[in-house]
């Protein structure tokens, strides 16, 4: 018995040292689940074209990715992290503390957050962000009073909207999509309302009061699985869903986008910023790893290639909203030449 134990623990220890010592020959990427499908596409294309070992792409969420990415320099730490927002000051400081000082920032394109509804719903949905906030906020102004959200039907918010129950399925608080929706749609909608606009509230008040989604039924946290939301929308023609534009794009035969402030979610409207709820997507590269981790530079070249990034390229086929030609050229120049991002 003791012999078995000793052998097993010896095996474990040997294996541990073996893992630590073995050199890494594949690229490791972490980060946002929104950037994940695009990085996936580049990785597969890269591995197929070059025959290099396929990069390991992990979807950890933006914040989780930053934590791992900023953990340090060396083989034990990832080379690239994807982000659905820019790196924050505190994240940059964390990176600097751990010796990750030379980072290239790449803004690869935009992602629209779409609200969608089943095609079997015949109403031509067009709502303002203020109305979105009135439908989904935990507390809203009614007749000059800040009260718990009383609205159960769209028609109660505005009489031109149909007389159906408000049912909106959206991401849970752990999701980056939720953060983006709260910031881009809920805050903006909240500030549109006369009560808030004229009330002279500061941004701290907005952050505290306009960030909460209602929990009394009409807003349903549907989990991280966007395919599940799509299925629910198909079976309930009056339910709306909130998810990334790529899911709407894949399911355009079953779903239609809800116009926000009169603008349909489409590639063009998201790219030129006229669709109000869109966010830039980023990835960050450790420049110290270039030339050290095999193939990293080649991988970045693939990511920055016109094949991937231009309109009609394979990333836009997956739903990425592309940059215009000028910003693309600037991006390629800065990332390929490993220009370091400014300290914030």
């Amino acid at each position: 018995m003791s012999r078995i134990k000793v052998t097993a623990s010896a095996l474990a220890i040997a294996a541990v040292s073996a893992t630590a010592a073995s050199a890494r020959d594949e690229i490791r990427i972490v980060g946002s689940s929104t950037v994940f499908p695009y990085t996936q596409a580049v990785s597969e294309q890269f591995a197929n074209n070059t025959g290099a070992p396929s990069p390991i792409v992990e979807s950890t969420g933006t914040g989780g990715g930053m934590k791992i990415f900023c953990g340090g320099i060396g083989e034990g730490h990832p080379d690239i992290t994807g982000a659905s927002r820019a790196m924050t000051v505190s994240e940059y400081e964390l990176c600097t503390q751990n010796g990750v000082t030379d980072i290239s920032e790449a803004m690869i394109g935009y992602d629209g957050l779409s609200m969608a509804i089943s095609r079997s719903n015949s109403f031509d949905w067009d709502v303002s962000l203020g109305e979105v906030f009135l439908a989904l906020g935990a507390q809203v102004p009614v007749n000059g009073e800040w009260v718990d959200n009383p609205f159960k039907k769209w028609s109660e918010i505005d009489s031109r909207l149909p007389d159906v129950n408000i049912v909106v399925l959206g991401p849970p608080p752990t999701s980056g999509t939720r953060d983006a929706f709260v910031e881009l749609a809920m805050h903006a909608g909240c500030k549109e309302l006369a009560y808030v606009k004229d009330g002279g509230f500061d941004s701290a008040w907005v952050n505290e009061n306009c960030s909460r989604m209602r929990t009394d039924g009409p807003f349903i946290e549907a989990g991280e699985n966007d395919n599940l939301i799509v299925q629910r929308l198909e079976s309930d023609p009056n339910a709306m869903g909130i998810f990334g534009y790529s899911f709407l794009y894949e399911n355009l035969d079953k779903l239609k986008g809800v116009k926000l402030a009169g603008v349909d979610p489409e590639f063009d409207t998201i790219a030129d910023g006229s669709y109000p709820v869109s966010r830039p997507l980023f990835f960050y590269v450790k420049n110290a790893h270039r030339g050290v981790i095999p193939n990293l530079q080649e991988f970045i070249e693939e990511y920055m290639s016109d094949d991937a990034l231009e309109p009609g390229g394979y990333l836009t086929e997956r739903g990425l909203v592309p940059l215009d030609a000028e910003s693309r050229a600037a991006l390629q120049d800065s990332v390929l030449n490993a220009k370091s991002m400014d300290a914030k």
Binding site: T19, A20, E44, V57, E58, N251
Partner: protein
């Protein structure tokens, strides 16, 4: 005794029983009915689950393919340039041969999209393996891309207005022409087992996940089996019965009930944090699962050892065997079937475990299968997790298919456990 006669006449015991008989029968029937209802409900749920999985999942077990006569044009693919060359153009040209009248670049591009992105690489691999094919015409059967696979399987409604459909009218017409020519077939989807993950549903497979799971389970077995049996033998046969051993026993039972995500966090902090092991490696996954499986094995082993009657031990001791000889020569072999059953059930549990693997990064996208336990890999449940969250339509059925594969493994493992128990276990 005389008091009885004095009081009001009481019912004899027979009469009491008889009076209550109806009520007892009713209770009996009610209990049976409730039990039956509970079982039917459970079966109904199971049937719904498996039924819906089969309904959506069976479509992923076939994949639409197209057969093409490919002229390997030396102008596009010069032998000197291998492994680079215009493989995509050659494949598109072969397809255009079958559809007359497609001339413009845009049309050719749209036509080429019928072929899976993997088709060009299949051609490349074939040419690289045998460069003498350049200049010849070869017959190739390659997968079609996901939208056309969906079209063939009837998952894209042709009645939908064109603007909202992924496949346009012209493209459907091309595809129908190809169908009429007999070029389209729908054979068994071997890619599901032969390929590793891919972002293209028609190329995505479970190979990486199956091998990753196998490595993780092997590591898990090699660590938890000897350690678990060792701990159980010591506790059952050698440890003095005192407060300390009681405390250990209580803790092991508690450990078996700890949620698996806690083991994942532990692994993240200890294996990845302190020991600096690699993320996403099946070896680390196996270690984590071993922590989870060990209490199950210890409990099963102790139960199996307890079931061996003391007379066996006493007889062996009586003829002069040492305690060591008693345990390894007599008790352990007799307890082995029970131990193995417990181990297999523990491993089956580990196979389906997702949460701890997510925490150590085994939910990565990797397009190659691992060759050692230290290569990054996914496992079956985490692969399901990734596919379930992919936007492409083809992954909906592939997710269900992957769940069916996982369920098959679980059923096989549990059946093996039952077989071992029935075949080798001795009743005393």
């Amino acid at each position: 005794m005389t008091d009885i006669a004095a009081g009001p006449r009481r019912l004899s015991s027979t009469e009491t029983v008889r009076a209550g008989l109806g009520r007892r029968k009713r209770h009996q029937i009610m209990l049976q009915g409730l039990g039956l209802a509970a079982i039917s409900f459970a079966f109904l749920m199971l049937a719904t689950l498996v039924g819906s999985l089969v309904m959506t999942g069976h479509k992923a077990f076939t994949q639409t393919h197209i057969t093409l006569d490919v002229y390997v044009d030396p102008a596009e693919i010069p032998a000197a340039g291998l492994p680079r060359g215009g493989f995509r153009d050659v494949m598109t040209a072969a397809l255009a041969e079958r559809i007359p009248g497609v001339e413009s670049r845009a049309e050719l591009r749209a036509l080429g999209a019928i072929l899976s992105n993997g088709a060009q690489f299949m051609l490349r691999d074939r040419i690289v393996a045998d460069p003498s094919l350049i200049g010849q015409t070869i017959t190739m059967r390659v997968p079609v891309s996901d939208p056309y696979d969906q079209l063939k399987k009837g998952l894209i409604d042709r009645e939908t207005p064109e603007a909202f459909r992924r496949v346009k009218d012209q493209e459907i017409a091309w595809f129908d022409t190809l169908m009429a020519q007999g070029a389209i077939t729908e054979p068994f989807n071997w890619a599901l087992f032969r390929n590793a993950d891919s972002r293209f549903p028609e190329l995505a497979g479970l190979k990486g996940a199956l091998i990753g799971s196998a490595w993780a389970l092997l590591v898990c077995f090699l660590i938890s089996f000897p350690l678990g049996i060792g701990a159980a033998i010591y506790l059952e046969e050698f440890a003095p019965k005192n407060r300390v051993s009681d405390l250990i026993e209580v803790n092991i039972n508690n450990l078996a009930a700890v949620p698996s995500v806690v083991f994942g966090l532990l692994a993240l902090a200890v294996f990845l944090g302190w020991f600096g092991m690699q993320r996403s490696a099946p070896f680390v996954g196996g270690l984590t699962l071993a922590l989870m499986t060990m209490p199950t094995i210890i409990i099963a082993t102790r139960a199996a050892l307890k079931a061996v009657p003391p007379s066996i031990r006493e007889a062996a001791l009586g003829v002069g065997a040492s305690r060591h000889q008693v345990v390894f020569g007599h008790v352990l072999p007799l307890a082995m079937p029970g131990i193995l059953t417990g181990t297999i059930i523990g491993l089956a549990q580990a196979l389906g475990e997702t949460a701890p693997l997510l925490l150590i990064g085994m939910n990565a996208f990797i397009t190659s299968a691992p060759s050692t336990p230290f290569d990054s890999a996914t496992a079956l449940p985490t692969q399901i997790f990734i596919w379930a969250d992919s936007p492409e339509r083809g992954f909906v059925s592939r997710t269900s298919a992957a769940i069916l594969v996982l369920l098959t493994f679980l059923v096989v493992m549990n059946a093996l456990a039952i077989f071992l128990r029935n075949r080798f276990e001795r009743k005393w």
